[in-house]
């Protein structure tokens, strides 16, 4: 366990430095002319020189790289061309919105996955089991952005139950419902499936059959043998989906115009705003690595067999 965590920790700086190098190299080879983006097409040579000097673009490449890494270490992700604001500030402003949606979706996913998984295992082969398994496949395999658009079309535009864009001003729960439901439904899929399978596995174990033979009620065996032991793989799986959730989060934010990190990344891609793209990507990478580390640590808490 300890060794595993150390291993993870040792890869963290390598990943971040690797991503930083990749981003720096791509900023060099990208055909985008930064000066033209800032000053427009009719830029005079003097103005060009002045802007290049201000951005440090007149320095040799290795000096530029050194400066770039130095800025990153100080938490300076560069200045967005589109907004003319520091990327770190934009990310900090967008973070609460993303975290809110992320947290709400995780709660929805838990509220769907655990009851549905247990019931599907209990009533194996019933219509409920078949229906939930079908929905799980749709949830796992569907493109998140299209699922979001279907929800907008049906619950937002056709039924008019929920607002379909933005966060509200001031932010309210009403705007949160649709994006959180869509994201949560998607993320619940694989955990539901794992929970159902592991409970069924436990119920066919010798202990469970022995308990039934000793006259324990079906419900008692389901809860004690099935659910309690079946939870471990399900919780593990839920942890793993936390990284994937970040990917779907980006798409859902774009669909719903949710003012979070994903939308920032989208604006960056659409406007060729390289500092904005690289800043948000770096931040999201940091998140993904950290989330993996936390999940690994939690395994030790959930499953005592891994402690050692």
């Amino acid at each position: 366990m300890f060794r595993q965590v150390l291993r993870r920790l040792s890869t963290l700086p390598i990943v971040l430095v690797g991503v930083a190098i990749a981003l720096f190299v791509s900023s060099q080879v990208l055909p985008t002319d930064v000066v033209r983006l800032i000053a427009g097409d009719s830029v005079t040579p003097e103005l060009r020189a002045a802007i290049e000097a201000r951005l440090g673009l007149d320095q040799p490449i290795w000096v530029q790289f050194w400066n770039y890494m130095g800025r990153l270490l100080r938490g300076d992700l560069g200045t967005s061309i589109r907004f003319q604001l520091p990327v770190s500030q934009l990310v900090a402003d967008a973070l609460p919105a993303s975290l809110t949606l992320f947290g709400a979706a995780a709660v929805v996913a838990v509220l769907i996955a655990f009851p549905v998984g247990v019931l599907a295992a209990r009533f194996r082969g019933s219509w409920f089991d078949v229906l939930s398994r079908g929905l799980v496949v749709v949830g796992i395999s569907s493109p998140p952005f299209f699922l979001g658009l279907l929800a907008i079309l049906w619950f937002g535009l056709y039924l008019g139950w929920f607002p379909v864009s933005g966060r509200g001003d001031p932010p309210d729960l009403y705007h949160l419902v649709l994006p959180a439901l869509v994201l949560g439904f998607r993320e619940a899929g694989s955990t539901t499936r794992v929970l159902r399978a592991s409970i069924l596995d436990e119920l066919s174990s010798e202990q469970a059959r022995a308990a039934r033979a000793r006259g324990m009620t079906r419900r008692y065996v389901l809860m004690k043998n099935g659910v309690r032991n079946g939870l471990i793989p399900a919780v593990t799986d839920f942890g793993t989906t936390m990284t994937e959730l970040a990917g779907a989060l980006i798409l859902i934010e774009i669909v719903f115009g949710w003012p979070g990190i994903g939308n920032l990344l989208y604006i960056g891609v659409r406007w060729n705003d390289f500092p904005l793209v690289s800043g948000t990507v770096l931040f999201l990478v940091l998140y993904a690595v950290a989330a993996n580390l936390i999940v690994d640590l939690l395994y030790g808490v959930i499953d005592p067999r891994l402690r050692g």
């Binding site: 890869t11 496949v137 395999s141 998140p144 970040a246 690289s278 990507v281 999201l284």
Partner: protein
């Protein structure tokens, strides 16, 4: 001690064709009994046929006609630039399937080289390659896609390369595990003892025995690849306008969701059908061939 295969010739110890045949025929029989899998496969075949032969019958998907914007001409109407929507959905199917196949093949090739090397040589090679797999798996696929696409510029091939790198570690681990169990077998030990080169042993004795299950697994995962392509294109980091991809068609159509939902629904529903079908086929394949990830 018994040794598998006709060792006397020294070089003819290869794969066991009977085992391969049994693997395939048994799997095929069990797959045929899986209803969702069979239906999914039928849907995929229909989409594939339309993608291949459709363009013979449809209009030019990129032909702009500003006199017929958002009209109901043709099977599915036209988009905001007067382009035939059905023709663009068919074109999108070609793009999605092309990227899925290319990315899967590229990913499998990389995984094969790295995974077999990790399993066969072990030690420090294994340690480094396994770390590389871990690191790549840390990223959500879409983020890795954006990172690679902005690094080398968006195009059809770039998207395929980006996705292939993202899916590579899953199959790399499979190849590694298969190789590890394969090199324990007596026929590999026997050729090793005869002093043949590693390359020859890998090519003639290891690879023929390890590739099939991984390829079956990868075939079932192609729906996820198609969804990734659509996601990247939706984000603007994939196939670029004016070329049609389901992802950027949905992105462009989103502005007309209230008045012309067809612009989003046509590409979206076909994508959903393809993704769900692949998912059913993938599950059926895993069950039929008894594969685990």
């Amino acid at each position: 001690m018994t040794i598998e295969g006709p060792v006397t010739s020294g070089i003819r110890v290869k794969t066991d064709p009977a085992a391969t045949k049994k693997f395939l025929s048994g799997g095929r029989r069990r797959f045929a009994q899986n209803l969702p899998g069979v239906v999914g496969l039928a849907v995929i075949v229909v989409i594939l046929i339309v993608a291949i032969f459709g363009p013979l019958f449809t209009l030019d998907p990129n032909r702009v006609d500003m006199t017929h914007t958002l009209s109901s001409d043709g099977i599915a109407g036209t988009d905001a630039l007067g382009r035939d929507l059905f023709a663009r959905v068919v074109e999108g199917a070609r793009v999605a399937l092309f990227v899925s196949v290319l990315a899967t093949v590229l990913g499998l090739l990389m995984a094969m080289v790295l995974g077999v090397a990790a399993g066969y040589f072990g030690g420090i090679v294994d340690e480094i390659l396994s770390r590389v797999f871990d690191v790549i798996l840390t990223f959500p696929m879409i983020l890795l896609g954006v990172l690679i696409v902005i690094s080398i510029g968006p195009s059809l091939t770039t998207v395929a390369i980006a996705i292939s790198i993202a899916i590579m570690p899953r199959y790399g681990r499979q190849f590694r595990a298969q190789t590890l169990s394969c090199i324990q077998r007596e026929y590999v030990q026997a050729v090793r003892a005869q002093g043949y080169s590693s390359l020859r042993i890998i090519l003639r004795h290891v690879l023929p025995n390890v590739w099939l299950p991984v390829v079956v697994l990868a075939a079932g995962n192609m729906g996820k690849v198609a969804v990734s392509e659509a996601s990247l294109s939706y984000l603007g980091a994939g196939v670029q306008a004016p070329n049609a991809s389901w992802g950027n068609m949905i992105s462009e159509g989103q502005a007309y969701l209230q008045t012309n939902p067809g612009l989003v629904l046509w590409p979206g529903l076909v994508l959903l059908a393809l993704a769900v079908s692949f998912s059913f086929v993938g599950d059926a394949l895993r069950d039929a061939f008894d594969l685990t990830e």
